[in-house]
Every structure is written in structure tokens, then in C-alpha cells.
């Protein structure tokens, strides 16, 4: 392997990554936003994930299902970011660089988005996390059950069953709410 071979490899991987960013960045930021409730945090997480994916590609890793792989990484990174209880822990040694988030979103749109985040997470927090994550992937991210099963590395039937259990609990909440409002 000489240096020009390496450059060819490297350029190929860079191009591959750029294509993957183009095709997946919106979906991943969307998912991370509805996990974290902050656009800045969502972009930080997705940026870090793409950098790690670049590392994986450079290692020669072949990613058969990029969508499942990247969703899994973003979902795990969101869980890490939400963690608590790391006594005396501090921010990472190499803190993430500031990123500009150029968006054309108006204040009104931003408020709607924040309200939706609160509403969705209020409902999902009322059910076990393993059920909530399936509902989130299906309703918030619009993924198919097979894609969800692939991301979580669980059988399709398990994904659908957890979905049904979670939906049942939320249905019950709506029913109780409805009953309570009728009673008033």
C-alpha cells in the first residue's frame, strides 16, 4: 500500500460519509431532538456519532444497514447524555466545539416544537422505557417495525408486542382523562 492508495481510500471514505450525512442527518437530528429537547444537544450528539462512524469506516468496518447502525448509535448517545449520578464527573476533557445552528425557524415554530417535545415525552415517560422507545421510533421517527427491530436487535414480534403494551397504557390514560372530563 503506498500513499496514493491510502489517499484514494481516505477520499473514498470521506465521500461515502458525506453521502451518508446528506441522506441521514435530518432523521437522526429529528430523533435526537425528541429525546433531548434541545436542538443544540441533538446536533452535538449527531455530529459526534458521524465522527465515530467515520472512525468505524476507516477501521474497515462494513456497515450493512447504515440506518439501523446510525439510529442505534444516536439512541445510545442520547441515553448517555441524559445520564445522571456520575458523582463528581465533569465535562469531557475535549469539549465539543461550538456549532452554529443556522435555521430559519421562527420563534412561533420554535415554541410549537418545544410544546410538542414536552407533550410527547410526557406521554412516553409514563410507560416503561422499552415500550416507549418502540412507540418513539414508530410515531416520532416514522420507522417501520422491521427497522425498529433491526435497530434494537430484537425479534419483530417483540417489537410489535412492546408497541401494543405501550399503546395500551397510553390509551388507558386518554380514556381516564376523558372519563374525568365527563365527570366534571
Amino acid at each position: 500500500m503506498n500513499s496514493s492508495d491510502y489517499k484514494t481510500d481516505s477520499a473514498k471514505i470521506t465521500r461515502q460519509l458525506e453521502n451518508l450525512i446528506d441522506s441521514h442527518q435530518d432523521k437522526l437530528v429529528h430523533h435526537a431532538y425528541f429525546r433531548l429537547g434541545s436542538r443544540k444537544d441533538a446536533e452535538d450528539v449527531v455530529q459526534d456519532v458521524f465522527v465515530k462512524i467515520f472512525g468505524e469506516l476507516n477501521k474497515g468496518k462494513e456497515i450493512a444497514d447504515f440506518s439501523a447502525f446510525s439510529f442505534r448509535m444516536v439512541a445510545n448517545a442520547c441515553t448517555d447524555r441524559q445520564r445522571a449520578g456520575n458523582r463528581f464527573s465533569r465535562v469531557p476533557f475535549e469539549t465539543a466545539q461550538n456549532m452554529s445552528t443556522q435555521t430559519s425557524e421562527s420563534r412561533e415554530e420554535e415554541l410549537i416544537r418545544e410544546e410538542e417535545f414536552r407533550r410527547i415525552n410526557f406521554l412516553l415517560r409514563s410507560i416503561p422505557e422499552e415500550q416507549a422507545e418502540i412507540l418513539r421510533f414508530r410515531f416520532v421517527d416514522g420507522l417501520q417495525f422491521q427497522q425498529i427491530a433491526d435497530i434494537l436487535e430484537i425479534p419483530l414480534t417483540t417489537a410489535k408486542s412492546r408497541f401494543s403494551y405501550g399503546l395500551q397504557k397510553i390509551k388507558t390514560q386518554f380514556f381516564n382523562q376523558k372519563e374525568a372530563s365527563h365527570a366534571v
Binding site: Q25, R83, F93
Partner: protein, 442 residues
């Protein structure tokens, strides 16, 4: 209505692989039309009205970060992030070519050229060296506090023993331990066990249980990491050679906010320090590290490596942590606070006030919500005895210090034993709910 009978067909209604005709049949089987209304209500409530798009700058930022991290050589972008050993080989060969080029074209003047050429050689040899290595065991000592965070420094404390085990191939695994605290990564997950609380935490392989010290886990990247650090934080670095060693020195100023100096010198990055790495000149292997902190105009040695051995057999069990009696593992994701819980706090002051009040009143429900790991302590009953019924003497104003992502709230409390404790409670709100929870310091 409680919908006690789970309808697995609920999922089928939202399964796009099921035909419309089949869905129609499923709908007909719902006896109660209002149940379908409720399903629709639930689905609508969980669907955002608009897709969140990535910002225009995300892609550029990713590529910039990749380029910045990978700029290990003069004007050369080699794409070095988590590279495999085979890729390192490629880089090493390029580095060798560049070294020859640099020797011919000293663009940056003799002094800079000299340092960069040495950097390139050091990079080249340390990469080559690590390609040959399967395992590494490092015995080192740090002035620290037994049983607390691995990165915590105490300049007035004694040296305590640390050991690091690293397996490079076939699967990357590692473990770092000091008395009372162990962190390991078994290739799948990261684990942290703190003996004094008896709490074992499980996170992803990227969980931040080790911070600055992780530089020791990747000796082939020390130069790359430190050079990037020096450029980012305007630290000084130099490379010198003796007959047998190549010595890399970094002089860095403390990072963080020190309007309140509480966190100053609590970790290596939060101190003015000098880090001296040495590499065997011939083999390129990482040989030693000494870290000195500058305190009161004098240097204090706070970290020293006593020995590094390569390619010793490391038993696979080394990368598993055996828990002591009455302890269990807790997933980090289980410790996330629940929003809307009245026990939680919207300001650091509120968190501190609620915390101490809950302990004084033995309101354990609130205690567990504010500090979820408390509940999982192996010595829970003893903790309850010590903290329960304490008397609050004072709670001060919160402040930020150093790199800590949260804030500190000063306090003085008196335990039932009569002992008075004056310290700073660490609180943080970097969770989904943005609520303030307790992070230690009690």
C-alpha cells in the same frame, strides 16, 4: 375501561406491511369504536407536526471535526480517528514519506521545522510500535483520593496506586483501578464500581467514567491528542531527544471557570500543569509519564508511571468487575429523573434545599429521586442512619467552578452523631428534564 386484554392487533394497525384490506378486517374486530378513537388520539399525540431538520452547518462541522482531529502532521490530513491497526500502518508509511519531504523543504523555519519533524518521527515510531503490541499493563501512582473519581487529584494527598490493563486485539478491552474504584470496558459496555457507595453503574462503551486519564489507554495517539490540545488551548509543547528517548512535554494552563477556585487543581485539566511523556527512541514504545501541577509557585509531582509492560497475558476476567456482597449493577439509563415530579428541582438552590430537608425529615422517596444512586447503595441502611435526621445549619449560594457541568452549593450540616460537615454539594441538570439532581459532595 382498563384495556386489560392486550390487543396485539394494535400494532398491526400501524404496520405498513399489512394490507388495507387486512387492516379493515382488524378494525371490524374492535367491538368498541371509542377504543379506536383512543388509539387515534394516542397516535396523534405522539406524532410531531413537523420534522426537525439538521442545521445547514452540521455536515461542515462533522467534516471540520474530522479534519481537525486528524491533522497530525504538517499540512497533512490523514483522517485519524479510532483507526484500525491496519490503517495506522498506512498512516505510518505516509508519515515516513512526509518526513523525507519535510527534511528537504523547511517551510516553517528551522525551529518549528525541527519540532514538527521530531513530532512526525515520534508519531511514526509510536504508531509502528503499538501495531506490534497486543496488551499493555501500566502501574502508576497519583495523588488522589481512594474510592472517588479516577480523575480526581488531591495535591496534598499521598500517592495511591493505580493499575491499567489494556487489550488491543482481538477486541479492545480495558480496566483501570485504584483502591475503592474500578472502571472497565469489556468491548460491549463500560462499568464503574465505587466501593464506598456499593453502586455499580453500567453505561455504553463511550460512557464518560474515565476522563483525562483515557489518554493512557491509547498510547499511539498521545502525540495526536496532546498536539490537538496544545493548538486548541494555546498550550506549549516541545519534543526533545536523548540517546535513548524521545520526550514530549506539554505545559498547559488550567481550563474552566475559576471565579470560585473550588475546582482548581481537582483534576489535571483544571490545573496549571506540565506533562512529560517519554517514548523509547528505538522501539517507539510509550515508556513513562510524569505530571506536575503548579501550586503556590512550585511544582508538585502528582502522577508518575512506575512501570509499563507489554504483551503480558491478561486473563479475560480482568475486564469484568466482581461486585462485593449486597451490590448490584444499575444501568445509567434507569437513573434518569422523571419530569413533572414535584420532588425534583428547577434551580440549584431548590435542589440543595430539598435534598437536605428530605434527609433531615427522612423523606427517602424524595432523597432517591434527587440522587437515584443513593437508593442502590449496598450500605443503604447505614447511609440512612448517618444522614437521616441531620440538622441543617446553613445552605449558601450556588457557584460554578472549573469544568464541572453543574454547580456547587455550599452547606453546613450537623449529623445526629454530633459531627458537623461543611462542604459543597455538587448539583447538575444536564438531563432530559433539565431538572437539578445531586451529583455528590455529601
Amino acid at each position: 375501561m382498563q384495556f386489560n386484554n392486550i390487543k396485539h392487533t394494535d400494532a398491526d394497525l400501524f404496520d405498513d406491511t399489512i394490507s388495507s384490506a387486512d387492516k379493515k378486517k382488524i378494525i371490524e374486530n374492535y367491538n368498541d369504536a371509542s377504543e379506536l378513537d383512543l388509539i387515534n388520539m394516542a397516535a396523534s399525540a405522539l406524532m410531531p407536526s413537523k420534522e426537525i431538520k439538521a442545521s445547514n452547518s452540521l455536515k461542515d462541522n462533522v467534516m471540520k471535526q474530522i479534519n481537525e482531529t486528524s491533522q497530525t502532521t504538517l499540512g497533512t490530513k490523514t483522517g485519524i480517528i479510532s483507526l484500525s491497526r491496519s490503517t495506522w500502518k498506512k498512516i505510518a508509511s505516509i508519515a515516513a514519506v512526509l518526513l523525507i519531504t519535510l527534511a528537504i523543504i523547511p517551510i516553517f523555519g528551522p525551529r518549528i521545522f525541527n519540532t514538527n519533524a521530531k513530532a512526525l518521527t515520534l508519531l511514526n515510531t509510536s504508531i509502528e510500535a503499538i501495531l506490534q503490541v497486543k496488551t499493555m499493563i501500566v502501574h502508576f501512582q497519583v495523588r488522589s483520593v481512594p474510592g472517588d473519581n479516577l480523575d480526581l487529584i488531591d495535591t496534598r494527598g499521598d500517592f495511591i496506586d493505580y493499575t491499567l490493563w489494556k487489550q488491543f486485539t482481538p477486541t479492545e478491552k480495558w480496566r483501570i483501578e485504584k483502591p475503592g474504584m474500578t472502571v472497565s470496558m469489556d468491548g460491549q459496555k463500560q462499568y464503574r464500581f465505587m466501593e464506598k457507595t456499593g453502586v455499580g453503574l453500567i453505561g455504553s462503551p463511550e460512557a464518560g467514567f474515565v476522563e483525562w486519564m483515557k489518554i493512557l489507554l491509547e498510547p499511539e495517539k498521545i502525540l495526536q491528542t496532546e498536539k490537538a490540545f496544545a493548538e486548541k488551548h494555546k498550550a506549549k509543547y516541545s519534543i526533545e531527544e536523548t540517546n535513548t528517548e524521545t520526550i514530549l512535554t506539554i505545559k498547559a494552563n488550567a481550563l474552566g471557570d475559576f471565579k470560585n477556585a473550588f475546582s482548581l487543581n481537582k483534576s489535571i485539566p483544571e490545573s496549571d500543569n506540565r506533562r512529560v511523556y517519554s517514548f523509547d527512541k528505538q522501539s517507539g514504545r510509550f515508556k513513562s509519564l510524569e505530571v506536575y501541577m503548579l501550586e503556590n509557585n512550585s511544582e508538585v509531582l502528582i502522577l508518575k508511571i512506575n512501570s509499563i509492560s507489554y504483551d503480558e497475558t491478561i486473563a479475560d476476567e480482568t475486564f469484568s468487575i466482581s461486585l462485593t456482597e449486597n451490590t448490584k449493577w444499575v444501568e445509567l439509563k434507569e437513573l434518569v429523573p422523571e419530569k413533572g415530579d414535584a420532588a425534583l428541582a428547577s434551580t440549584p438552590e431548590e435542589a440543595a434545599n430539598k435534598w437536605w430537608k428530605a434527609l433531615s425529615e427522612k423523606d427517602w422517596t424524595t432523597v432517591y429521586k434527587l440522587e437515584p444512586t443513593f437508593e442502590h447503595s449496598s450500605n443503604l441502611e447505614e447511609m440512612k442512619t448517618v444522614y437521616g435526621g441531620l440538622q441543617i445549619i446553613s445552605i449558601g449560594k450556588p457557584f460554578r467552578s472549573g469544568l464541572f457541568v453543574g454547580q456547587y452549593v455550599p452547606y453546613i450540616v450537623k449529623f445526629k452523631s454530633g459531627e458537623v460537615q461543611k462542604h459543597n454539594l455538587a448539583v447538575r441538570n444536564d438531563n432530559l428534564q433539565k431538572t437539578w439532581v445531586i451529583d455528590g459532595g455529601y
